[in-house]
Protein backbone atom coordinates (compact mmCIF):
# COMPACT_ATOMS: atom_id res chain seq x y z
CA UNK A 1 0.00 0.00 0.00
CA UNK A 2 1.26 3.44 -0.91
CA UNK A 3 1.71 5.83 1.97
CA UNK A 4 0.12 9.25 1.38
CA UNK A 5 2.48 11.96 2.61
CA UNK A 6 3.45 15.56 1.86
CA UNK A 7 5.83 16.24 -1.01
CA UNK A 8 8.71 17.38 1.21
CA UNK A 9 8.39 14.28 3.41
CA UNK A 10 8.24 12.02 0.37
CA UNK A 11 11.40 13.48 -1.20
CA UNK A 12 13.16 13.58 2.17
CA UNK A 13 12.46 9.93 2.90
CA UNK A 14 12.78 8.39 -0.55
CA UNK A 15 15.63 10.20 -2.30
CA UNK A 16 19.17 10.11 -0.89
CA UNK A 17 22.44 11.61 -2.08
CA UNK A 18 24.01 9.37 -4.72
CA UNK A 19 20.76 7.64 -5.72
CA UNK A 20 19.76 6.79 -9.27
CA UNK A 21 16.52 8.72 -9.76
CA UNK A 22 14.18 8.79 -12.75
CA UNK A 23 11.66 11.63 -12.99
CA UNK A 24 9.75 10.75 -16.13
CA UNK A 25 7.08 12.38 -18.23
CA UNK A 26 6.92 12.65 -22.01
CA UNK A 27 5.95 16.33 -22.46
CA UNK A 28 2.82 15.51 -20.45
CA UNK A 29 2.73 15.14 -16.63
CA UNK A 30 6.36 16.03 -15.94
CA UNK A 31 6.95 15.88 -12.16
CA UNK A 32 8.30 19.42 -11.90
CA UNK A 33 7.23 20.09 -8.29
CA UNK A 34 9.08 16.94 -7.17
CA UNK A 35 12.19 18.09 -9.10
CA UNK A 36 12.06 21.48 -7.42
CA UNK A 37 11.74 19.83 -4.01
CA UNK A 38 14.94 17.84 -4.76
CA UNK A 39 16.70 21.14 -5.52
CA UNK A 40 15.37 22.72 -2.31
CA UNK A 41 16.51 19.77 -0.22
CA UNK A 42 19.97 20.06 -1.78
CA UNK A 43 20.50 16.50 -2.98
CA UNK A 44 23.95 15.82 -4.44
CA UNK A 45 25.60 13.17 -6.59
CA UNK A 46 22.39 11.91 -8.17
CA UNK A 47 22.35 9.83 -11.32
CA UNK A 48 19.41 11.36 -13.12
CA UNK A 49 17.62 9.16 -15.62
CA UNK A 50 15.11 10.32 -18.19
CA UNK A 51 14.33 9.83 -21.87
CA UNK A 52 13.71 13.53 -22.47
CA UNK A 53 15.47 15.67 -19.87
CA UNK A 54 13.89 19.09 -20.28
CA UNK A 55 13.89 22.28 -18.26
CA UNK A 56 13.40 20.73 -14.80
CA UNK A 57 16.49 18.58 -15.47
CA UNK A 58 18.31 21.70 -16.69
CA UNK A 59 17.46 23.23 -13.31
CA UNK A 60 18.55 20.14 -11.33
CA UNK A 61 21.84 19.97 -13.27
CA UNK A 62 22.47 23.72 -12.92
CA UNK A 63 21.78 23.48 -9.18
CA UNK A 64 24.53 20.86 -8.88
CA UNK A 65 22.29 17.94 -7.86
CA UNK A 66 23.53 15.51 -10.52
CA UNK A 67 26.81 13.80 -11.26
CA UNK A 68 25.51 11.69 -14.14
CA UNK A 69 22.71 11.84 -16.71
CA UNK A 70 21.27 8.79 -18.49
CA UNK A 71 19.12 9.99 -21.37
CA UNK A 72 18.11 9.88 -25.02
CA UNK A 73 17.20 13.48 -25.94
CA UNK A 74 18.13 16.52 -23.90
CA UNK A 75 16.55 19.73 -25.07
CA UNK A 76 13.94 22.39 -24.51
CA UNK A 77 11.19 20.89 -26.71
CA UNK A 78 10.32 23.12 -29.62
CA UNK A 79 12.63 25.88 -28.33
CA UNK A 80 16.24 24.73 -28.51
CA UNK A 81 19.02 23.51 -26.29
CA UNK A 82 19.31 23.10 -22.53
CA UNK A 83 22.03 25.56 -21.61
CA UNK A 84 22.67 24.39 -18.04
CA UNK A 85 23.08 20.83 -19.40
CA UNK A 86 25.41 22.17 -22.11
CA UNK A 87 27.44 24.18 -19.61
CA UNK A 88 27.86 21.10 -17.40
CA UNK A 89 28.94 18.88 -20.33
CA UNK A 90 31.15 21.45 -22.07
CA UNK A 91 32.55 23.33 -19.04
CA UNK A 92 31.86 21.12 -15.98
CA UNK A 93 29.78 23.92 -14.43
CA UNK A 94 28.78 23.82 -11.61
CA UNK A 95 30.12 20.25 -11.40
CA UNK A 96 31.22 17.77 -14.07
CA UNK A 97 28.37 15.77 -15.59
CA UNK A 98 28.99 12.26 -16.84
CA UNK A 99 26.58 11.18 -19.57
CA UNK A 100 25.22 7.86 -20.75
CA UNK A 101 23.43 8.27 -24.01
CA UNK A 102 20.79 6.15 -25.77
CA UNK A 103 18.00 6.43 -28.31
CA UNK A 104 14.36 6.66 -27.18
CA UNK A 105 13.80 3.06 -28.28
CA UNK A 106 16.80 1.96 -26.23
CA UNK A 107 15.66 3.81 -23.09
CA UNK A 108 12.05 2.65 -23.46
CA UNK A 109 13.18 -0.94 -23.74
CA UNK A 110 15.51 -0.59 -20.75
CA UNK A 111 12.51 0.44 -18.64
CA UNK A 112 10.40 -2.38 -20.08
CA UNK A 113 13.08 -4.90 -19.13
CA UNK A 114 13.28 -3.35 -15.66
CA UNK A 115 9.52 -3.51 -15.21
CA UNK A 116 9.48 -7.08 -16.56
CA UNK A 117 12.09 -8.43 -14.14
CA UNK A 118 14.48 -9.24 -16.98
CA UNK A 119 18.21 -8.43 -17.07
CA UNK A 120 18.15 -6.88 -20.53
CA UNK A 121 16.03 -5.97 -23.52
CA UNK A 122 16.59 -6.71 -27.17
CA UNK A 123 15.79 -4.43 -30.05
CA UNK A 124 16.61 -3.69 -33.64
CA UNK A 125 18.42 -0.46 -33.39
CA UNK A 126 21.65 1.44 -32.98
CA UNK A 127 23.44 -0.55 -35.71
CA UNK A 128 25.54 1.67 -37.91
CA UNK A 129 25.31 4.62 -35.51
CA UNK A 130 28.18 5.95 -33.38
CA UNK A 131 26.20 5.50 -30.14
CA UNK A 132 27.50 1.99 -29.22
CA UNK A 133 31.11 3.26 -29.42
CA UNK A 134 30.39 5.79 -26.67
CA UNK A 135 27.84 3.98 -24.51
CA UNK A 136 29.04 0.83 -22.74
CA UNK A 137 25.42 -0.18 -22.08
CA UNK A 138 24.71 -0.93 -25.76
CA UNK A 139 25.96 -4.34 -26.91
CA UNK A 140 25.42 -6.58 -29.92
CA UNK A 141 23.57 -9.84 -29.32
CA UNK A 142 22.94 -12.77 -31.63
CA UNK A 143 19.45 -14.20 -31.92
CA UNK A 144 19.68 -17.83 -30.72
CA UNK A 145 17.02 -18.87 -33.25
CA UNK A 146 17.94 -17.06 -36.46
CA UNK A 147 21.54 -16.00 -35.90
CA UNK A 148 20.62 -12.41 -36.68
CA UNK A 149 22.64 -9.68 -35.00
CA UNK A 150 20.50 -7.43 -32.80
CA UNK A 151 21.15 -5.00 -29.95
CA UNK A 152 20.89 -5.57 -26.20
CA UNK A 153 20.51 -2.92 -23.53
CA UNK A 154 20.48 -3.64 -19.77
CA UNK A 155 17.37 -3.24 -17.62
CA UNK A 156 16.86 0.04 -15.81
CA UNK A 157 15.90 -0.35 -12.16
CA UNK A 158 16.32 3.12 -10.65
CA UNK A 159 16.51 3.49 -6.87
CA UNK A 160 13.58 5.89 -7.12
CA UNK A 161 11.05 6.48 -9.89
CA UNK A 162 9.04 9.71 -9.75
CA UNK A 163 6.01 10.47 -11.94
CA UNK A 164 3.08 12.85 -11.84
CA UNK A 165 -0.55 11.84 -12.49
CA UNK A 166 -4.01 13.36 -12.35
CA UNK A 167 -5.53 11.60 -9.36
CA UNK A 168 -5.18 9.18 -6.53
CA UNK A 169 -7.79 7.80 -4.18
CA UNK A 170 -7.31 7.74 -0.41
CA UNK A 171 -5.77 4.28 -0.57
CA UNK A 172 -3.13 5.54 -3.03
CA UNK A 173 -4.41 3.98 -6.26
CA UNK A 174 -3.30 6.30 -9.05
CA UNK A 175 -5.22 7.20 -12.21
CA UNK A 176 -3.48 8.73 -15.22
CA UNK A 177 -4.83 9.62 -18.65
CA UNK A 178 -3.81 11.42 -21.83
CA UNK A 179 -0.34 10.71 -23.25
CA UNK A 180 0.87 7.82 -21.05
CA UNK A 181 4.58 8.19 -21.93
CA UNK A 182 6.72 5.75 -19.98
CA UNK A 183 5.17 6.46 -16.58
CA UNK A 184 3.75 3.02 -15.78
CA UNK A 185 7.01 1.32 -16.74
CA UNK A 186 9.04 3.67 -14.50
CA UNK A 187 6.93 2.96 -11.43
CA UNK A 188 7.12 -0.78 -12.05
CA UNK A 189 10.87 -0.75 -12.80
CA UNK A 190 11.97 1.32 -9.79
CA UNK A 191 12.93 -0.01 -6.37
CA UNK A 192 10.99 2.82 -4.68
CA UNK A 193 8.45 5.14 -6.25
CA UNK A 194 6.78 8.47 -5.70
CA UNK A 195 3.68 9.55 -7.56
CA UNK A 196 2.66 13.18 -7.20
CA UNK A 197 -0.96 13.90 -8.14
CA UNK A 198 -3.12 16.88 -8.94
CA UNK A 199 -5.64 15.82 -6.33
CA UNK A 200 -6.58 13.08 -3.93
CA UNK A 201 -10.23 12.06 -4.24
CA UNK A 202 -12.55 9.67 -2.43
CA UNK A 203 -13.32 7.57 -5.49
CA UNK A 204 -11.66 7.36 -8.92
CA UNK A 205 -14.18 7.92 -11.72
CA UNK A 206 -13.75 6.04 -14.97
CA UNK A 207 -11.88 8.03 -17.64
CA UNK A 208 -11.46 7.15 -21.30
CA UNK A 209 -8.03 5.72 -21.97
CA UNK A 210 -6.98 5.99 -18.35
CA UNK A 211 -4.51 3.63 -16.76
CA UNK A 212 -4.61 2.87 -13.09
CA UNK A 213 -1.48 2.04 -11.18
CA UNK A 214 -2.49 0.10 -8.07
CA UNK A 215 -1.49 1.38 -4.66
CA UNK A 216 0.44 -1.78 -3.78
CA UNK A 217 3.17 -1.17 -6.38
CA UNK A 218 3.73 2.46 -5.31
CA UNK A 219 5.81 3.51 -2.28
CA UNK A 220 4.48 7.02 -1.67
CA UNK A 221 1.82 9.33 -3.09
CA UNK A 222 1.92 13.08 -2.52
CA UNK A 223 -0.67 15.68 -3.48
CA UNK A 224 0.93 18.44 -5.58
CA UNK A 225 -1.69 20.56 -7.37
CA UNK A 226 -0.14 22.16 -10.47
CA UNK A 227 2.82 19.85 -9.89
CA UNK A 228 3.51 19.38 -13.60
CA UNK A 229 3.64 23.08 -14.55
CA UNK A 230 4.87 24.38 -16.97
CA UNK A 231 4.17 21.00 -18.59
CA UNK A 232 0.56 19.97 -18.46
CA UNK A 233 -1.93 17.63 -16.84
CA UNK A 234 -4.57 16.52 -19.32
CA UNK A 235 -7.99 17.58 -18.04
CA UNK A 236 -6.50 20.04 -15.52
CA UNK A 237 -4.36 22.63 -17.29
CA UNK A 238 -2.56 23.21 -20.57
CA UNK A 239 1.13 23.32 -21.39
CA UNK A 240 2.59 26.77 -20.74
CA UNK A 241 4.56 27.14 -23.98
CA UNK A 242 5.60 30.69 -23.05
CA UNK A 243 7.33 29.41 -19.92
CA UNK A 244 9.40 27.00 -22.04
CA UNK A 245 10.36 29.86 -24.37
CA UNK A 246 11.15 32.12 -21.41
CA UNK A 247 13.44 29.51 -19.83
CA UNK A 248 15.84 29.84 -22.76
CA UNK A 249 17.07 33.26 -21.63
CA UNK A 250 17.37 32.26 -17.96
CA UNK A 251 19.14 28.98 -18.69
CA UNK A 252 21.56 30.63 -21.13
CA UNK A 253 23.17 32.84 -18.50
CA UNK A 254 24.85 31.65 -15.29
CA UNK A 255 24.04 34.84 -13.40
CA UNK A 256 20.39 34.85 -14.38
CA UNK A 257 20.22 31.19 -13.46
CA UNK A 258 21.81 31.87 -10.06
CA UNK A 259 19.25 34.53 -9.31
CA UNK A 260 16.47 32.15 -10.44
CA UNK A 261 17.80 29.58 -7.96
CA UNK A 262 17.76 32.13 -5.16
CA UNK A 263 14.41 33.73 -5.85
CA UNK A 264 12.44 30.68 -7.05
CA UNK A 265 14.09 27.83 -5.13
CA UNK A 266 15.51 29.70 -2.15
CA UNK A 267 18.95 28.16 -2.58
CA UNK A 268 22.33 29.46 -3.72
CA UNK A 269 24.60 27.91 -6.37
Amino acid sequence: MAEIVSLDEAVGELIHDGDEVALEGFTHLIPVAAGHEIIRQGRRGLTLVRMTPDIVYDQLIGAGCARKLVFSWGGNPGVGSLHRFRDAVQNSWPVPLEIEEHSHAGMANRYVAGASGLPFAVLRGYRGTDLPAHTANIKPITCPFTGEELTAVPALNPDVGVVHAQRADRRGNVQLWGIPGIQKEVVLASKRSLVTVEEIVDELEERPGAITIPSWVITKVAEAPGGARPSYAHGYYERDNDAYRAWDAVGRDRERFRSWLTTEMGVGA
Partner: protein
Protein backbone atom coordinates in the same frame (compact mmCIF):
# COMPACT_ATOMS: atom_id res chain seq x y z
CA UNK B 1 2.04 36.03 -54.07
CA UNK B 2 5.66 36.59 -53.03
CA UNK B 3 7.20 34.09 -50.63
CA UNK B 4 10.34 33.37 -48.58
CA UNK B 5 12.87 30.59 -49.17
CA UNK B 6 11.67 28.95 -45.94
CA UNK B 7 8.12 28.90 -47.29
CA UNK B 8 9.34 27.40 -50.55
CA UNK B 9 11.20 24.68 -48.63
CA UNK B 10 8.19 23.84 -46.48
CA UNK B 11 5.85 23.68 -49.48
CA UNK B 12 8.33 21.53 -51.45
CA UNK B 13 8.60 19.14 -48.50
CA UNK B 14 4.82 18.97 -48.05
CA UNK B 15 4.33 18.12 -51.73
CA UNK B 16 6.40 14.94 -51.42
CA UNK B 17 4.02 13.45 -48.83
CA UNK B 18 1.42 11.19 -50.40
CA UNK B 19 -2.18 11.01 -49.28
CA UNK B 20 -3.09 7.90 -47.29
CA UNK B 21 0.43 7.13 -46.08
CA UNK B 22 1.65 7.08 -42.49
CA UNK B 23 4.31 9.60 -41.63
CA UNK B 24 6.44 9.77 -38.48
CA UNK B 25 6.86 13.47 -37.83
CA UNK B 26 9.61 15.30 -35.98
CA UNK B 27 8.89 18.69 -34.44
CA UNK B 28 9.77 21.91 -36.28
CA UNK B 29 10.05 21.99 -40.08
CA UNK B 30 8.89 18.37 -40.59
CA UNK B 31 5.79 18.97 -38.47
CA UNK B 32 4.96 22.18 -40.34
CA UNK B 33 5.35 20.48 -43.73
CA UNK B 34 3.33 17.42 -42.74
CA UNK B 35 0.49 19.54 -41.37
CA UNK B 36 0.53 21.63 -44.53
CA UNK B 37 0.27 18.46 -46.65
CA UNK B 38 -2.71 17.32 -44.59
CA UNK B 39 -4.42 20.69 -45.25
CA UNK B 40 -3.74 20.67 -48.99
CA UNK B 41 -3.32 17.59 -51.18
CA UNK B 42 -3.08 14.85 -48.53
CA UNK B 43 -6.05 15.05 -46.14
CA UNK B 44 -5.67 11.34 -45.36
CA UNK B 45 -2.02 11.58 -44.31
CA UNK B 46 -1.59 9.79 -40.98
CA UNK B 47 0.60 11.82 -38.63
CA UNK B 48 2.47 9.86 -35.98
CA UNK B 49 4.39 11.72 -33.26
CA UNK B 50 6.79 9.95 -30.94
CA UNK B 51 4.77 10.88 -27.86
CA UNK B 52 2.43 8.08 -28.95
CA UNK B 53 -0.24 10.07 -30.75
CA UNK B 54 -1.21 8.05 -33.84
CA UNK B 55 -3.28 9.85 -36.46
CA UNK B 56 -3.07 13.29 -34.86
CA UNK B 57 -5.07 16.04 -36.62
CA UNK B 58 -3.96 19.25 -34.91
CA UNK B 59 -5.67 22.55 -35.73
CA UNK B 60 -2.54 24.49 -34.84
CA UNK B 61 1.14 23.64 -34.96
CA UNK B 62 2.34 21.94 -31.78
CA UNK B 63 5.40 23.43 -30.06
CA UNK B 64 6.30 20.02 -28.70
CA UNK B 65 5.77 16.41 -29.82
CA UNK B 66 3.53 15.77 -26.83
CA UNK B 67 1.26 18.81 -26.87
CA UNK B 68 -2.24 18.08 -25.58
CA UNK B 69 -3.71 19.12 -28.93
CA UNK B 70 -2.10 16.05 -30.53
CA UNK B 71 -3.60 13.69 -27.95
CA UNK B 72 -7.06 15.31 -28.21
CA UNK B 73 -7.17 14.91 -32.00
CA UNK B 74 -5.43 11.52 -32.40
CA UNK B 75 -7.06 8.26 -33.52
CA UNK B 76 -5.38 6.63 -30.53
CA UNK B 77 -2.71 7.38 -27.97
CA UNK B 78 -0.18 4.72 -26.99
CA UNK B 79 2.80 4.44 -24.63
CA UNK B 80 6.37 5.17 -25.71
CA UNK B 81 7.47 1.51 -25.71
CA UNK B 82 4.48 0.70 -27.91
CA UNK B 83 5.33 3.48 -30.39
CA UNK B 84 8.81 2.16 -30.98
CA UNK B 85 8.24 -1.59 -30.57
CA UNK B 86 4.89 -2.09 -32.32
CA UNK B 87 4.73 0.78 -34.79
CA UNK B 88 8.24 1.88 -35.82
CA UNK B 89 10.39 -1.26 -35.45
CA UNK B 90 8.30 -3.63 -37.64
CA UNK B 91 8.18 -1.08 -40.46
CA UNK B 92 4.53 0.02 -40.14
CA UNK B 93 5.38 3.67 -40.90
CA UNK B 94 5.85 4.63 -44.56
CA UNK B 95 7.84 7.82 -44.18
CA UNK B 96 10.11 9.08 -41.43
CA UNK B 97 10.35 12.83 -41.64
CA UNK B 98 13.43 14.26 -39.92
CA UNK B 99 15.41 17.45 -39.44
CA UNK B 100 19.19 17.56 -38.96
CA UNK B 101 21.97 19.60 -37.38
CA UNK B 102 24.48 18.08 -39.82
CA UNK B 103 23.97 15.82 -42.83
CA UNK B 104 26.65 14.32 -45.06
CA UNK B 105 26.90 13.21 -48.69
CA UNK B 106 25.50 9.77 -47.79
CA UNK B 107 22.54 11.17 -45.89
CA UNK B 108 23.87 10.28 -42.42
CA UNK B 109 22.55 12.66 -39.78
CA UNK B 110 24.22 14.13 -36.70
CA UNK B 111 22.09 15.58 -33.90
CA UNK B 112 24.47 14.61 -31.09
CA UNK B 113 27.64 16.65 -30.94
CA UNK B 114 29.89 19.03 -32.88
CA UNK B 115 33.56 18.50 -32.07
CA UNK B 116 34.85 15.49 -30.13
CA UNK B 117 32.34 13.46 -28.14
CA UNK B 118 34.32 13.75 -24.90
CA UNK B 119 35.33 17.37 -25.43
CA UNK B 120 32.44 18.83 -27.43
CA UNK B 121 32.41 22.21 -29.09
CA UNK B 122 28.61 22.16 -29.15
CA UNK B 123 26.56 19.60 -27.32
CA UNK B 124 23.30 19.01 -29.25
CA UNK B 125 20.12 17.37 -27.87
CA UNK B 126 20.99 13.85 -28.99
CA UNK B 127 19.30 10.94 -30.71
CA UNK B 128 15.71 10.85 -29.46
CA UNK B 129 13.68 8.65 -31.76
CA UNK B 130 15.68 9.39 -34.90
CA UNK B 131 18.01 6.35 -35.11
CA UNK B 132 15.12 3.90 -35.23
CA UNK B 133 13.00 6.15 -37.45
CA UNK B 134 15.90 6.32 -39.93
CA UNK B 135 16.43 2.57 -39.67
CA UNK B 136 12.88 1.21 -39.89
CA UNK B 137 10.54 3.62 -41.70
CA UNK B 138 9.88 2.70 -45.34
CA UNK B 139 11.82 5.74 -46.49
CA UNK B 140 13.17 8.92 -44.95
CA UNK B 141 12.65 12.55 -45.95
CA UNK B 142 14.89 15.20 -44.45
CA UNK B 143 14.04 18.88 -44.43
CA UNK B 144 16.89 21.19 -43.50
CA UNK B 145 18.29 24.61 -44.47
CA UNK B 146 21.37 24.24 -46.63
CA UNK B 147 24.72 25.70 -45.54
CA UNK B 148 28.34 24.50 -45.49
CA UNK B 149 28.06 24.10 -41.70
CA UNK B 150 25.09 21.79 -42.06
CA UNK B 151 26.04 19.98 -45.30
CA UNK B 152 29.36 18.41 -44.34
CA UNK B 153 31.52 15.88 -46.15
CA UNK B 154 31.28 13.42 -43.22
CA UNK B 155 29.17 13.99 -40.12
CA UNK B 156 31.18 14.20 -36.91
CA UNK B 157 28.84 11.72 -35.20
CA UNK B 158 26.43 9.31 -36.89
CA UNK B 159 23.25 9.67 -34.84
CA UNK B 160 21.01 8.25 -37.59
CA UNK B 161 22.18 6.19 -40.52
CA UNK B 162 21.50 7.27 -44.08
CA UNK B 163 23.59 5.11 -46.41
CA UNK B 164 26.61 4.74 -44.09
CA UNK B 165 29.70 4.80 -46.29
CA UNK B 166 27.80 3.91 -49.44
CA UNK B 167 25.99 1.05 -51.20
CA UNK B 168 25.41 -2.13 -49.19
CA UNK B 169 25.88 -0.60 -45.75
CA UNK B 170 22.19 -0.50 -44.85
CA UNK B 171 21.83 -4.18 -45.69
CA UNK B 172 24.99 -4.98 -43.72
CA UNK B 173 23.59 -3.19 -40.65
CA UNK B 174 20.25 -5.00 -41.00
CA UNK B 175 18.31 -1.75 -41.49
CA UNK B 176 14.99 -2.57 -43.10
CA UNK B 177 13.87 0.76 -44.52
CA UNK B 178 15.14 2.08 -47.84
CA UNK B 179 16.85 5.10 -46.28
CA UNK B 180 16.85 8.75 -47.38
CA UNK B 181 14.69 9.44 -50.41
CA UNK B 182 14.62 13.25 -50.50
CA UNK B 183 16.60 15.96 -48.74
CA UNK B 184 14.57 19.13 -49.17
CA UNK B 185 16.34 22.44 -48.54
CA UNK B 186 15.74 26.15 -49.01
CA UNK B 187 17.69 25.93 -52.31
CA UNK B 188 16.40 22.74 -53.90
CA UNK B 189 16.06 18.99 -53.51
CA UNK B 190 18.76 16.32 -53.25
CA UNK B 191 18.20 12.64 -53.95
CA UNK B 192 20.56 9.67 -53.59
CA UNK B 193 22.26 8.52 -56.78
CA UNK B 194 20.85 5.05 -57.53
CA UNK B 195 24.35 3.58 -58.04
CA UNK B 196 26.54 5.38 -55.49
CA UNK B 197 23.92 6.46 -52.91
CA UNK B 198 25.55 9.92 -52.88
CA UNK B 199 23.15 12.83 -52.42
CA UNK B 200 22.82 14.60 -55.75
CA UNK B 201 21.09 17.85 -56.60
CA UNK B 202 18.08 16.93 -58.71
CA UNK B 203 15.92 20.01 -58.40
CA UNK B 204 16.27 23.73 -57.82
CA UNK B 205 13.59 25.97 -56.43
CA UNK B 206 12.63 28.84 -58.75
CA UNK B 207 15.31 31.55 -58.57
CA UNK B 208 17.99 29.27 -57.04
CA UNK B 209 21.16 28.41 -58.94
CA UNK B 210 23.58 25.49 -59.04
CA UNK B 211 26.37 27.83 -57.88
CA UNK B 212 24.34 28.81 -54.85
CA UNK B 213 23.75 25.13 -54.02
CA UNK B 214 27.46 24.33 -54.44
CA UNK B 215 28.46 27.21 -52.18
CA UNK B 216 26.07 25.99 -49.49
CA UNK B 217 27.46 22.45 -49.58
CA UNK B 218 30.61 21.33 -47.75
CA UNK B 219 31.48 18.68 -50.33
CA UNK B 220 31.91 18.68 -54.08
CA UNK B 221 28.19 18.56 -54.84
CA UNK B 222 27.13 16.37 -57.75
CA UNK B 223 24.39 17.69 -59.97
CA UNK B 224 21.99 15.40 -61.80
CA UNK B 225 22.08 15.57 -65.62
CA UNK B 226 18.28 15.73 -65.37
CA UNK B 227 18.32 18.76 -63.05
CA UNK B 228 15.04 20.61 -63.24
CA UNK B 229 13.39 23.59 -61.60
CA UNK B 230 10.41 22.95 -59.33
CA UNK B 231 7.16 24.86 -59.21
CA UNK B 232 6.79 27.98 -57.10
CA UNK B 233 4.31 27.70 -54.21
CA UNK B 234 0.73 28.29 -55.32
CA UNK B 235 -1.39 30.97 -53.66
CA UNK B 236 -3.47 28.22 -52.08
CA UNK B 237 -0.39 26.53 -50.59
CA UNK B 238 0.94 29.81 -49.22
CA UNK B 239 -2.42 30.75 -47.75
CA UNK B 240 -2.72 27.35 -46.04
CA UNK B 241 0.84 27.59 -44.69
CA UNK B 242 0.36 31.10 -43.36
CA UNK B 243 -2.96 30.21 -41.75
CA UNK B 244 -1.27 27.26 -40.06
CA UNK B 245 1.57 29.45 -38.77
CA UNK B 246 -0.85 32.12 -37.58
CA UNK B 247 -2.90 29.55 -35.64
CA UNK B 248 0.21 28.13 -33.94
Amino acid sequence: MSYTSDEMMTVAAARELRDGTACFVGIGLPSTAANLARRTHAPGLVLVYESGTLGAKPERLPLSIGDGELAETADTVVSVPEVFNYWVQPGRIDVGFLGAAQIDRFGNINTTVIGGYDDPKVRLPGAGGAPEIAAHCGEVFVVVRQSPRTFVDRVEFVTSVGFGSGPGDRERFGLRGAGPRFVITDIGVLEPDPETCELTLTRLHPGSTVEQAREATGWDLRVSPDLRTGEAPTDAELAALRALKAAG
